[in-house]
């Protein structure tokens, strides 16, 4: 006959029970903490984004002219990793069209666009904002051989089906990039040349 083991009450039963409960609670807490971390990292898993239809426009202001130059040749890629999103947008300078060839060539000359043919824009923001209606990004813009930083630039985010539309204005100025302001009738253009960004992003 199989001997049945019976539980022998321990003399310090209450204390042992408390110790066991304590051990179990600490085990549970460890598991919980591990799961919280796992869940957080799951929520912020690596994701990559590619730019689809994109429009970048600069606005130039002169007492006699209001000019917008638009490029649809921008390309972009974004990587979200470890709670941080890094996006790169690049556009060739010569693809901006203001409706006048002469002005566009002058713009390329003034911005040293043949020497530095690509405008690079790097955006960094917390991954938690990737689903927020408003993203506040730290931007680094490489343009005309110079680099300028713009912190906490507000960008609007709109969900469009599977894609995300990002719009916003980057407050570029000529002086940020050591650009000699072109003049017309001896009057130079305004220092501000804000860049309007309108991009469609697809998540991979």
């Amino acid at each position: 006959m199989r001997e049945r083991k019976t539980r022998v009450p321990h003399p310090r039963g209450v204390l042992v029970f408390a110790a066991r409960v304590g051990r179990d609670v600490s085990l549970a807490a460890t598991i919980a903490a591990a799961l919280v971390v796992a869940a957080q990292s799951l929520a912020q898993t690596d994701s990559t984004w590619d730019a689809g239809e994109s429009t970048l426009s600069y606005h130039m202001s002169h007492p006699m002219h209001e000019v917008d130059g638009t490029s649809r040749a921008a390309k972009g890629k974004g990587i979200c990793h470890a709670g941080q999103c890094d996006f790169l947008i690049a556009v060739p300078v010569k693809t901006f069209d203001s409706g006048d060839t002469n002005r566009d060539l002058h713009m390329i000359e003034a911005t040293r666009g043949a020497q530095f043919p690509i405008i690079q824009l790097r955006a960094r923001f917390p991954q938690a904002e990737v689903s927020a209606p408003r993203i506040h990004a730290d931007l680094e813009v490489q343009f005309a051989g110079q680099t300028a930083h713009y912190s906490q630039v507000a960008l609007q985010r709109t969900q469009q089906g599977n894609a995300v539309r990002i719009t916003g204005t980057i407050p570029l100025t000529c002086s940020d990039f050591n650009i000699d302001r072109p003049s017309f009738l001896t009057v130079p253009i305004k220092n501000e040349i804000p860049i309007r960004v309108d991009m469609i992003w697809h998540s991979n």
Binding site: I79, P92, A110, A114, R122, A132, H136, D138, H149, S151
Partner: protein
């Protein structure tokens, strides 16, 4: 009893599974539940949200994001080497082109002054009087002044044209926009600027011979007016569209 302990541990495990699920909405996506109106447009917003976002960057001006393998690079975007490569020769051509066109612009505006003056002094250099009446010859001073202004205009005009014609051309750059009208009008005022002094000289010769200005020479005035109009339109075309707002602070 043993089974009870397992149940207890399983219960704890289940509880531990519930904790992160409950905790998730608070920790990972603070912006989603809040309506857009709650997010102020000012850049100060992120600093207000900072405590909730452990990975959020500092609101102060941040140095350049350092390059790391996690950051996308220019090569990821699929630009061709031709698109990304610097072209110092093209930059030099563009610089020279801009320099020459700036001179073209300045001289073109300067030319407008003697051109307008020549047009205004034209009637003063013309013989007056109808058939059967005494013809009043213009004074030599008027004639000389008009001719000198015309000569200055022509010299400035062709110098201006030189800087446009010989400015370096940029290949693979089809022209569009206002510059096309500007250049098209050159085919009107260019021949006009050649014809006007020739017709003027012919008209002067006929007057000197005591003849009434006749034939093609009688077109000196109309050709001059058409030339000035085309020239003015050419300046307006290259400046179009014009938004006058000089009163606004620069």
């Amino acid at each position: 009893m043993r089974q009870t302990k397992f149940d207890y541990q399983a219960g704890l495990l289940g509880l531990s599974l519930l904790i992160p699920i409950c905790a998730l909405p608070q920790s990972s996506a603070p912006a989603q539940p809040s309506p857009p109106q709650t997010a102020p447009a000012t850049p100060q917003t992120p600093s207000a949200q900072q405590p909730e976002l452990p990975n959020a960057p500092a609101p102060v001006q941040q140095p350049a994001p350092s390059s790391s393998p996690q950051q996308p690079s220019l090569s990821d975007l699929g630009f061709t080497p031709q698109q990304t490569q610097a072209d110092p020769k093209l930059q030099a051509r563009l610089n020279k082109r801009t320099e020459m066109l700036k001179i073209h612009q300045r001289l073109g505006l300067i030319t407008l002054a003697p051109m307008a003056a020549t047009l205004i002094t034209g009637p003063m250099a013309k013989a007056k009087g109808h058939d059967g009446q005494t013809i009043r010859e213009p004074s030599n001073a008027n004639l000389d002044f008009h001719a000198a202004l015309g000569g200055t205009t022509a010299a400035l005009y062709f110098t201006t044209a030189y800087f446009a014609i010989f400015a370096p051309k940029i290949p693979d750059n089809p022209k569009h926009g206002a510059i096309r009208f500007h250049e098209a009008l050159a085919f009107v005022h260019g021949p006009g600027m050649v014809l006007t002094p020739i017709l003027g000289a012919m008209a002067f010769q006929q007057e000197q011979n005591g003849e009434k200005v006749h034939g093609i020479a009688s077109l000196h005035g109309p050709v001059a007016i058409a030339t000035v109009c085309a020239y003015g339109a050419s300046i307006v075309a290259v400046s179009w569209p014009i938004h006058l707002k000089f009163w606004e602070k620069q």
